[in-house]
Symmetry: D2
Subunit: 308 residues, 4 copies
């Protein structure tokens, strides 16, 4: 299959539609991004990268960072992490607090905000915030084998200043004893992890270990066991798109994780890691063109995990 | 891979544990089933069936019927079916009514009771209940290529007599205008579809079209398009085990649908359709030994859709 | 104080506004009532009745019947009735089912539909539906000392045919074991009690025992103890207007119970029983002009229980 | 009626039961209070005070302060205050956040924590926190005509350190734009108002304006209009005891407001203001002995607003 032709075709189809959807406006720094951009990159398990459109323009990965922080936390805590966060779809929006009250401060899964904050609290254990941020950044550079990946401090600050809902979630869980560190410290790390800037090429490489039984085939680095890679993929498929996870599975058929910056990382197990980016979001908060591009991709490639 | 050895090994592992879990007791007729039973059958896309344990003992498929009724309804309605039922995990138990009130009578997905009742209402369109039940039964015989499949009228009656919660759900949706037929008629069909009796061998054959791009390789019958087969698989993976769907995806990694009779049907796209059965249920209402058996199976076979 | 002048003045103020609000349309028979009507009657504890406007036009008392059925049920069950229904405001609409799921089938109070259905089930104990309806009708004639009070069978039938939500509530509670009789039987009585037709004069007399320490001063009949009268008044004040109870207490300051037929019964303890009626409802489902009329009344008379 | 005999009798009945209930332990400083205390004071509208038990021992008034802050806020904002906070019972616990999410950051009433935080934000307008605290303290001294009333800084600090849930509520509402000042500032004031220390005698005098048409009969100071006094009483009756408000109305029959410090202020309109205090709380978070004492009081005096 000519994957370069596939990504070129996707970019050609998306070009006239650039600007569709609605850029996230609750984080002022993100609201300033030019909506008329679209990029895609595929890195296959045999190490080839195919890219098209704005594939080398950096963007804020936002919630996609939750996958990588979960990987770090599972490395530290093992399966005991699941005592503090569940593994079920939430049936509500990314920043809902209702479920937390009904379930005594245990978030439904690590990919909604509340769950990711608990995961960050796990990674923070034994560290100062600055060190935890450093660990995360090193991990991302290790995954991408690229030291140019950086955290956008402006975005982190912008999120901090307007992150009332996250402060609410964190304080709420702290009240239930499900946060070991002070809210300010945990969110300090959290806002920085969300503010990581990557482009599609880098992001597609970062996720490659999940497509390749836990090992990055580009570097040979073993990141997680094959079993854990499968399990993280399972979590992404059931919970990776908030209350649009079912829809994404239905249309795209790949494990994936979206961010409000407009990025989506998707994993075709045994085949490739894919990154798409376009800032305009659909109604459930996932990149509008990005979601459609991935549906086109799986239609063309037959990569859906649910059959070809 | 020697699949017969795999199923034999699974039965050997499960034998000392027969009787674990809790048999569903809210349907009196089901409560009378001997809990110390376990069966498994795998039918591959090349037409071989491997079985072990109580694989030829018939049991009540209960909610597994929701997959087949959805297949029928999509055949009648096409994608317009999704105006009346969603495609997202519910984040609550199989018979919850809370979500229905919050979302104006539109059930979250076709695999919780409320959603399945709407689906039954779709299949009923233009028919008398007796005809719709007949259509369903014929469809199941067509899928299995086996005319001995029957509906257990005693079970249907038992469910009817104690099905207050389903009457509540149906009346609630009827109040919102999301049920076109009288509650009694729709539930009359619904209780009969749930009461279908099959054994593991039959069930594994019935699901084979979902593993084989919509076509039953045993008979050559085309049931749905490849795309629709993928999509039904996606729905099973995200929503097939109620509020244990995330957990099932995490541990087993296959699309699947469980029933309170203790059966589970799982699909390995491109490879096989699997049926397990053991009456004792775990905390979220899925067969306890059946769930574990499927985890053993995917560990041994590498069939998880999330990588091997 | 010249109460006749007060009611005349109220009618004069309301006359130009007849037709405001929205007539309940979910019960077809009620939707046919002429909205441009307004009546008021005050019966004082010394036995005088003051009336104005359409005070002798019969209307469907609907949920106001819940007060009288509760009186009957407490007579049968005593305080043990509170094991099956709570005494707290619900914080939700009259026909909400969410709370029932969260609180295991125990309705929050006897004045929301679910609670009233449980109360009807209590009154039904040991009776056939026809007998229970007869008991209720005799009780209402006894309270009003007026044998012309009747049940409007057409309205009862109309409610029965469209009462899906009540069937949902009743089945739901029956599933939790909080209904002792078959749903059809309980709702058969329930729809009849709601369909009682009275005019303002009759209704003001029916409530007089609640204003007069449990005894009807017109007939000398003792209905309940002074303590029970106080307690029923307390329940009406906190729960009598669904999710508008706080607002009614704030503006009117009297225990009261409204019905979707547009009637409101209000009690000024130690002083009088008041009935107002006007079919148009406000946003929370209480008579729009009726609520305002009562606010005018307490402003003019100083009868608010919260001070004058 | 010999009110001194009434309070003496109540203290005699309560003496053998001192220590019942459970002292609030989530605020460490409050957890240290000796549970075996009970005090009661009645101040009548003609200026007499009757006291018994530990009526002169100061305690933390906690949520009772919400009544006085509401009085201040209404003075500043008038009825426009109700755009930012509702007037309906919440149907949930004092610190629930569920309702806030469902109703877009508008708390149900000013007597749950979320509502009181909004009220504090109103009082803070145009002030520094220190000034707002000063204004509140002066107001309380004015109401009691007693300059010895103080704020317990230790308690305020203790609440601040453990007040995660209140930080969650405040951040949540700030995210919805329903808090004009920074969370830290608003809660700084809030924790201080809750930490006001008063004894029963002082508290009974502070509430006297609500029993006397808005005017303190001891000092002649006009605090609010008669209408506003009635309305605040109505709010206390429907919402003053969180999810035990219905029960309190049922058993006691007076407008009242409780605090987790074990105090309850109750108003008998036209007659008296009553304060009781005993640290042990019942299941819904109101003083166990205090609630019962008030029921005894209204039984003996016939002061229930629902009839005698």
């Amino acid at each position: 299959m000519d994957l370069q032709a596939v990504v070129d075709e996707i970019v050609a189809k998306m070009s006239p539609r650039l600007g569709e959807g609605k850029v996230a406006d609750y984080i002022p720094e993100l609201a300033r991004v030019d909506p008329k951009q679209f990029g895609i990159a595929i890195t296959t398990v045999d190490g080839q990268t195919y890219m098209a459109g704005d594939a080398t323009v950096p963007f804020s990965i936002q919630s996609i960072s939750k996958v990588f922080m979960l990987t770090l936390a599972l490395g530290k805590m093992g399966e005991s992490a699941w005592k503090r966060v569940g593994r079920e779809p939430s049936g509500s929006s990314f920043n809902s607090i209702v479920q937390l009250e009904h379930e005594h401060g245990i978030p439904r899964n690590p990919f909604i905000n509340a769950g990711a904050i608990v995961v960050t609290d796990m990674v923070l254990a034994g560290h100062k915030p600055r060190e935890a941020i450093g660990e995360f950044l090193r991990f991302m550079r290790y995954l991408t084998d690229d030291d140019t990946v950086i955290i956008d401090a402006k975005v982190a600050k912008s999120e901090h200043l307007t992150g009332y809902r996250n402060f609410a979630l964190a304080n709420f869980m702290r009240g239930f004893g499900n946060l070991e560190h002070a809210v300010e410290l945990v969110l300090g790390v959290y806002f920085h992890q969300c503010a990581l800037a990557m482009n599609c090429v880098q992001l597609s490489r970062a996720g490659l270990y999940l497509a390749n039984r836990g090992t990055n085939p580009l570097t040979g680095f073993s990141v997680v066991s094959p079993k854990r890679a499968r399990r993280i993929n399972a979590l992404m498929l059931t919970c990776g798109h908030y209350d649009g996870s079912g829809d994404f599975a239905y249309h795209v058929g790949l494990p994936g994780k979206s961010g409000v910056g407009g990025g989506i990382m998707a994993i075709a197990p045994g085949k490739a890691s894919i990154a798409v980016w376009s800032p305009g979001l659909n109604k459930v908060g996932n990149s509008a063109l990005g979601s459609e591009a991935l549906e086109m991709l799986t239609t063309r490639t037959g990569w859906s995990v649910f059959g070809h």
